[in-house]
Amino acid sequence: MRADAAGRVVVTGLGTVNPLGTSTPAFGSALRAGTCAISPLTLFDTTGFRSVIGAQVQDIESVPLPAHVSTALRRRLSRADVFALGAAMEALADSGLDSTAPTERLGVALGGTTGGMLRTERCLQDRTNDGRRYRANALVGAPVSASADVVAQTLGIAGPRLTVSTACSSSAMSLGIALDWIRLGQCDAVLAGGSESLCATVFAGFNALHALSREPCRPFDRQRSGLSLGEGAAIMVLEDATHALARGARIHAELLDYGASADAHHLTAPHPEALGAVLAMRRALAHANLAPSDIDYVNAHGTGTPLNDASEITALHEVFDAAGGALAVSSTKSAVGHTLGAAGAIEALVTVLAVRDGFIPATVTLDEPEDPTLDFVPRTSRTASLRCALSNSYGFGGNNTSLVIGRAAESTH
């Protein structure tokens, strides 16, 4: 068993704070029940926007923070920092990695796109309203990399630290890089994932691009009309399998490998032939030594914009058609919204739960499938035994990352 475990990376801890739940069990239950968390936003004024809805974490106060976090620091934490801390603490506790483990062998790899933008907006409003109240030093914790610093310093994690910011694929890429860190021998385990907070700036940006849906987003539906933004964090403990087995850790699933590519085509529009998305999936499968027929489920990027979903369908046909059968593909953005920098990690966590617990999460808002030859798992989740699954994430800039996640029973025997 030891020899087989060499080079393998397993998931031994799960943590999340998102609009469907502020813990992994709560999130898992809501996901299986088919709940949609997309509703009118209260975090900022939505007057004048085409859409007024999104998936907002309602009870941020319920997210526990470490007792030793000072009041001064607490005041400086952004929403994204709080989400990240909550998810990291849950994942660490779930993994059973205790404080006696050498923390210099533990890393932090997070993804995000806007960090403390919500605070930046309030600070800049002061600048506009009354220059005397404007204090730019309030923005010292605003950069996107702050959450990783907060997690590492607050939880005393002494290994490598990184923040990936590749738009909507950020936290899929941070999981991939964390896998490489472990394989390269730089870490025994990594707290890897991502965190994102809603803010008016990004809402206005997607609004201006006509990309926001007025109703909860409907990925892969013929009537889809855009995306619904969301927020939250998901962080998991990725661990060297040998290390995990030696300490008798519970293994949720295995991160088999990943593939990354760039479209090199356009900053916002997907490649018409989905070249980059195909490359990412094929690279992921090749690195994992798997064939398309080994994949039982794809957690799609599936934003609900007309262009993205059409392009992803093209990519799925290109990669999977030869494998035969109806591939199960769903977009859980229909339930938690598009959480941008956290999306890759939240969806990887969904995929881990799916292979661990044996179910396929639904595309909960889907009625009229865009493509009848694919099984988009409309409305209702279903029980299914899954061997391996892909989680796709695509971002502005033309970044594509596909993660391959396998059932633990397959991987550690």
């Binding site: 080079g7 926007f49 800049l124 990783a148 394989r183 700036t201 990354a260 760039a262």
Partner: protein, 417 residues
């Protein structure tokens, strides 16, 4: 079976450089660093909160439109133009004409602390003043942190992994380390790796309100790392990109590398998440162990250390204590320098340190502390003063050291190819 790169011996070399800096492009950048010149001067547009003119290190001798005028890229912001320009220069320098097949396995990692703050600030200002109906759909994509890397991939057709990373003032070092890992993990044969940040009014305000800018003692504005009379940061800007390549890949092309990137280290020192560590926290034990694992022990060869010391009391004191402990008995033979007196301080500055590191290894010369008047009396390091001669046979190794706020220290170790 999954590969196990921990046992493999992949070597990574640097074969090309592209620089857009306050000192000018590559030849000027290096010549002026070695002669101890700086690129610091009064700002045309920025003022401090007290109304006094700002002192900054601007990129001036560079006209973006001369370098980049591809229709698909016409909406590029200034930071993206810097990154694209540095990327093009690095690929040319590396004599890499990427065919479609080669571009498929060429990726990039760009580090940036803040990204395109100028347009983000303008976007928010307009949104708050005029409401969401008039928000600018054309500039919004440019405000995303990975826009520069996206544009550069489009410009050069790079279809390998395309990653943007951020880690405050260590963003450049992190980008190089990440690209090195991606090559070692067989994700790409060639990686464009580097960093950039732009001098933005909002960033200037943050540093100003934090009291970090020179002259925070009321004397004259300057940047002089390790100086007894140092009095704060001069903010700079720019971009540097390096071509990293599997050694076999470079050898097969018949290219002479600048240097080898031997590896990197990462360690946490205790700090509040938003400030530099205190001097008492200096304990480079983990870094020393990781460097030893890479085959580096201080004092065995003539080495150069390029520090992130940025002319603040706090960071320079920490770097002095940390490097003194790291170098140990070799502190009297290793030469220590910093680029921040010449190019100012900014998130992506570490990529310029990396560029200077490989230039030092190739040319045998070194960047000098041209502004240094009187070394801090607590500093026993062998500083790169204007009269400091390099070792007769050049440097064997160069260590780039970064201590960002939040205490996530990083080093990069370069050695002769």
């Amino acid at each position: 079976m999954p590969r196990n790169p921990r046992t493999d011996t992949t070597r990574v070399v640097v074969t090309g450089l592209g620089v857009v800096s306050p000192l000018g492009p590559l030849p000027d950048f290096w010549r002026r660093l070695t002669t101890g010149e700086h690129g610091i001067g009064p700002s045309d547009d920025l003022k401090t909160r007290r109304g006094t003119p700002a002192t900054v290190a601007r990129v001036t001798s560079w006209e973006p439109k001369e370098h980049v005028h591809v229709p698909a890229l016409r909406r590029m912001d200034r930071l993206s133009r810097m990154i694209v320009s540095a990327t093009r220069a690095a690929l040319t320098d590396a004599r890499l004409a990427l065919t479609t097949a080669a571009a498929d396995s060429a990726g990039m990692v760009v580090g940036t602390a803040y990204g395109n703050v100028v347009e983000t600030d303008q976007f928010i200002r307009r949104l708050q003043a005029r409401g969401p109906g008039l928000a600018n759909a054309l500039t919004f994509p440019n405000t995303v942190l990975n826009a520069p890397a996206g544009y550069a991939a489009i410009d050069r057709g790079l279809r390998g992994p395309n990653v943007t990373v951020a880690h405050g003032e260590a963003s450049g070092e992190l980008a190089l380390a990440t690209a090195y890992d991606l090559i070692r993990s067989e994700r790409a044969d060639v990686m464009l790796a580097g960093a950039g940040d732009e001098l933005a009014p909002l960033v200037f305000d943050i540093y100003d309100d934090l009291g970090l800018l020179s002259p925070n003692d009321g004397q004259h504005a300057w940047s002089s790392p390790f100086d007894r009379y140092r009095n704060g940061i001069v903010l700079g800007e720019g971009a540097a990109m390096l071509v990293l390549e599997r050694a076999e890949h470079a050898a097969a092309r018949g290219v002479e590398p600048y240097a080898e990137l031997r590896g990197h280290t990462a360690q946490r020192v205790a700090a509040t998440p938003h400030d530099w560590p205190a001097t008492a926290a200096a304990d480079p034990g983990d870094t020393a162990r990781q460097l030893e694992h890479l085959g580096w022990r201080p004092g065995v060869t003539d080495d150069l250390v390029i520090s992130c010391a940025n002319s603040t009391k706090r960071l320079d004191a920490f770097e002095t204590a940390n490097l003194t402990r790291l170098l140990g008995a070799a502190a009297s033979s290793a030469t220590v320098t910093s680029l921040r007196g010449a190019i100012g301080d900014f998130g992506g500055a570490g990529a310029m340190s990396a560029a200077a590191a490989v230039l030092a290894l190739r040319t045998g010369d070194l960047p000098r502390l041209g502004s240094l008047r009187e070394p801090d009396p607590t500093c026993d390091l062998r500083l790169a003063t204007l009269t400091r001669a390099p070792p007769a046979h050049g440097f064997e190794r160069v260590l780039v050291s970064a201590t960002p706020r939040g205490g996530g220290c990083r080093t990069l170790l370069f050695q002769r190819a």
